[in-house]
Amino acid sequence: MKRGGPVVRWLELQLLVVPATAALVGLLTIYLARVGTTQWTWSDLTVSLIFIAVLGLTSLWLGILGLRGDQLVLPIVAMLACLGLLLSQRLSPTVGGGGLWASLSQRQLAYLLLAFAVLWITVAALRRLEWIKRFKYTWALGASALTLFTMLFGTDLGSGARLWLDLGPITVQPGEIVKVLLVFFLASYLDDYRELLTSSYRIGPLSLPPIPYLIPLVVMWGIAVLAIVLQNDLGNALLLYGVFLVMLYAASGRGYYVGGGLLAFAGAVIVALRLFPRVQQRIQIWLNPWSDPTGLGMQPVQADLAFAHGHIFGSGWGFGYPQAIPVVATDYAFAAIGEELGSFGAIALVALYLVLILRGSFIALRIRNGFVRVLTVGLVTVLGLQTIIILGGNVRLLPLTGITLPFVSAGGSSLITNFFIVGLLLRASEQARG
């Protein structure tokens, strides 16, 4: 597509009215529910007004940059971020020892602004995504170094896994950016060996994938197993491995690679179950939290109660008791929404993610360039799988894992990384055609 001058992204601007309205009404509801009166001033809505201003400016900035790609992704993401912002305002526990940015809600607003800044910069700086491919080993090295560094010097913020790096005033979760770097590397690598797509070879009755596929398959499997064993991080292992399998499948079109990979993963999990009581205990709590409803099972039991009380319409913003769930802001954001917005809200949220993922998939479908296509699929899968794993954990479809709900959960690292992915998606959508 030809580069053009600045444009106004009208569809996007119009759609952004929805999250803007939701931000105003939602924040007002939360504020009024808390004070118990109907008196308010515009200054009580500062947070939402800032959010709305940033939304409008973002759309305008994308227009100034001449971005002619997708206009649905940003409104959807804005709606999700709006829910996350409202939720943090809602929960608003004080974090740390006070100060200006002490409360969760203020932090979340700051992270959100930072995340939008990252989006602006990404879209402005990365005009051609093919550029990423040139540094594929840099990404691989960076990802490995970050992972190793976290394993060695990381701190455990209470989840039983060393996933955080303590940088004085803030802590960051390098795992988030590692996911994106890994997608960069895998997309480049798989694109390089695309021509070997059909050259599988046989050993006896077995038809093995070609060596360039086999090696990363084994390496990724090893990394996933290490993540489970060393970091007690089932969620991220599942996510990284899943993303890898999806990208392998997208690049090769061979279903049995995925099947074999899944079997290998299942085997590893079964062995881990046998060897590590910690993993076994987690599965036990998933299957039957009522065996220990006030101890290990407290989180899932309280989440069940939150969902159950939410019923169809929910208790309303500010009228539920999501704080009863331990670590609700990061682990159980979805249960909080299920309680306060009910089945309607919860399913609407799932639908938003689904539309986002499908939109991303169809962007990828229409990209001709093999590398950008696999890259886009990888990025979409990072968002999609992550969402399914954490939503599944919240509703006990899967064991609960400590990964975050994209755009909604409290947490800066995840928010910034996800907006980075959105920036890349928006750029990729420019190459979608046909």
């Binding site: 499948y249 998933w286 409803p293 109660l305 939150a306 009863a324 499908l358 998939s361 990828a364 399914i388």
Partner: protein, 546 residues
């Protein structure tokens, strides 16, 4: 054409599979449920397959497959949401209502705090249970000595018991179905539960309590025409104020209430038992009413049938000694006289003449062995413990005059008397008259209902005559009330070594008011001397000549 049907069929099949799973499994992590989810996922995949195939002709199919798998994942998450919020909801909430689980459901507490619990009132409007604000806390307070009728409400420790538990939905406002109630809920306004009004007449209740004093026993006074309970007295009772622990109570308060309940439980006299409906006693001679009913109804005897009573009767190797004859030189008595003088030897013969099955039939018709429908849990009265007890002549004879393995509640005996007064039908007894909303408007009003027919009209009239004869000429003469038709039967129930239970059952009729009383004083001694005066005073007060 077939390809058009398959997706729809697959989708419908998936819904059936999920519905089956929700019905069959208890939890969302049941392995069977997961298997069914997998089946549903595959069915959805089948339903979407034609569309995917159509798209794949133009586009790369691996990407479509990825999108499909992610979509199915979101679909399964949605199923789980619907299940937890719509179908498993009651199950989850029921699980936390068990206080021993230790699970704290703050939302339930919050809900309770946002609602002013309804009051429990006696028939004249005097309050026995209400919510009060004490130091910013909502506390359930119980007033008057009749408060034990309310049971207790103790959200901070034991939940609820008695009427507080049975009528919890009304008291906590959960049954409100009006638009106003719905709107109040949506707007988070403060709501009030409904008040419940009892049939208890505080004057009669207090009188009953003072008559019983500190003796263990139970009294029930019924309006024979409706089945309304006018007084329901138990002694010893408990103080529900000491059991009512509000939310947010201190550990000390909780401990005090817990130790009070432990003491009540360990107290051998059973203060937690609501004796008139939950106490089971040997009925003694009062049971002769039922034996007589069986004999009259089956035609085995008339009130004038003459029996021989020469002071003792030997059945198998069991000797029944007669102590009740008014004149030891007289050996023949009619059935009527034997009722009034409470002659065991005569009633043993009546029982033997009746046989087990006819006695059982009448006893069952009168409600023994059945759970009496009532606003509170009632103990089931029984004719025998073991089914073949009545097959032995000695057992049958003992049962016929009210000993044997018989165990009955005072309420059961009162109902038998209502049958006598009402030409044979028994009413459904009730304690709750109506429910009212916070503004005082009646929400629900009890319509008196007939529970069952105990005996036919002629039998009832004959029994009526037997019971009045007993008061006019028999041992219950002390129950006479001038200007009032009174019938009654005393009982002195042997219970092993200790003093016998004193019983009195009776009725009083004046103008169009008919009331029935049943009194038990545990180990009180003679029915005529101990229980009868209590019953008479209550009957007199109830018909307005007290």
């Amino acid at each position: 054409m077939v390809w058009r049907v398959v997706p729809a069929a697959a989708f419908l099949a998936s819904l059936c599979v999920l519905a089956y799973g929700i019905v069959r499994t208890d939890d969302r992590t049941d392995p069977t449920w997961f298997a069914l989810l997998l089946v549903a996922g595959v069915l959805w995949g089948t339903a979407l397959a034609p569309e995917i195939r159509r798209l794949a002709r133009r586009r790369g199919h691996p990407l479509l497959h990825v999108a499909l798998v992610l979509t199915l994942g979101f679909g399964l998450v949605t199923v789980q949401i619907l299940r937890v919020q719509l179908f498993d909801r009651e199950r989850i909430l029921a699980r936390t209502s068990d206080p021993t689980s230790g699970v704290i459901d703050v939302r339930r507490y919050a809900l309770e705090r946002s609602i002013t619990r309804g009051k429990i009132l006696l028939s004249d409007g005097s309050v026995i249970a209400e919510d009060k604000l004490e130091n910013g806390r909502r506390v359930r307070r119980y007033l008057t000595s009749a408060a034990y009728l309310a049971g207790y409400y103790s959200p901070g420790l034991y939940g609820a018991a008695g009427l507080e538990a049975r009528y919890d939905a009304d008291l906590s406002g959960r049954t409100a179905t009006t638009w106003q109630a719905w709107l109040d809920g949506v707007l988070h306004r403060r709501r009030s539960g409904n008040d419940i009004v009892l049939t208890i007449d505080p004057r009669l209740q207090e009188l009953g309590q003072s008559l019983l004093g500190d003796r263990s026993g139970g009294i029930v006074l019924l309006d024979a025409d409706t089945g309304a309970v006018l007084a329901l007295v138990t002694a010893p009772a408990f103080d529900p104020n000491l059991l009512s622990v509000p939310l947010g109570a201190s550990a000390d308060e909780v401990r005090r209430a817990a130790s009070y309940l432990d003491r009540l439980r360990e107290d051998g006299r059973g203060p937690l038992l609501l004796r008139p409906i939950q106490g089971l006693y040997v009925p003694g001679s009062t049971f002769k009413t039922i034996t007589a009913a069986a004999a009259l109804q089956s035609g085995v005897a008339t009130p004038d049938t003459v029996y021989r009573d020469d002071g003792a009767l030997v059945i198998d190797s069991r000797v029944i000694i007669e102590q009740n004859r008014p004149d030891t030189t007289r050996v023949s008595y009619t059935l009527r006289e034997a009722y009034g003088y409470s002659l065991n030897v005569v009633y043993a013969q009546v029982g033997l003449a009746l046989g087990a099955s006819r006695l059982e039939e009448t006893a069952r018709a009168a409600g023994l062995g059945e759970r009496i429908p009532f606003d509170l849990r009632v103990a089931v009265s029984r004719l025998t413990d073991s089914p073949d007890f009545l097959n032995a002549p000695a057992g049958l004879a003992e049962t016929a005059f009210g000993q044997g393995q018989l165990l009955v509640t005072p309420l059961q005996m009162a109902l038998v008397v209502t049958g006598v007064v009402r030409d044979g039908t028994l009413p459904e007894p009730y304690l709750v008259q109506e429910t009212r909303d916070a503004a005082g408007a009646v929400v629900w009003h009890r319509e008196p209902r007939v529970w069952r027919r105990a005996f036919d009209q002629e039998t009832a009239r004959a029994l009526h005559e037997l019971m009045t004869w007993s008061v006019e000429h028999g041992y219950a003469q002390a129950a006479r009330i001038p200007g009032v038709t009174v019938g009654g039967k005393t009982g002195t129930a042997e219970v092993g070594e200790r003093a016998p239970h004193a019983w009195f059952i009776g009725f009083a009729e004046r103008d169009d008011r008919r009331v029935v009383v049943s009194v038990v004083v545990e180990h009180g001694g003679s029915g005529a001397q101990v229980a009868l005066p209590i019953g008479r005073t209550l009957l007199a007060a109830a018909v307005g000549t007290g």
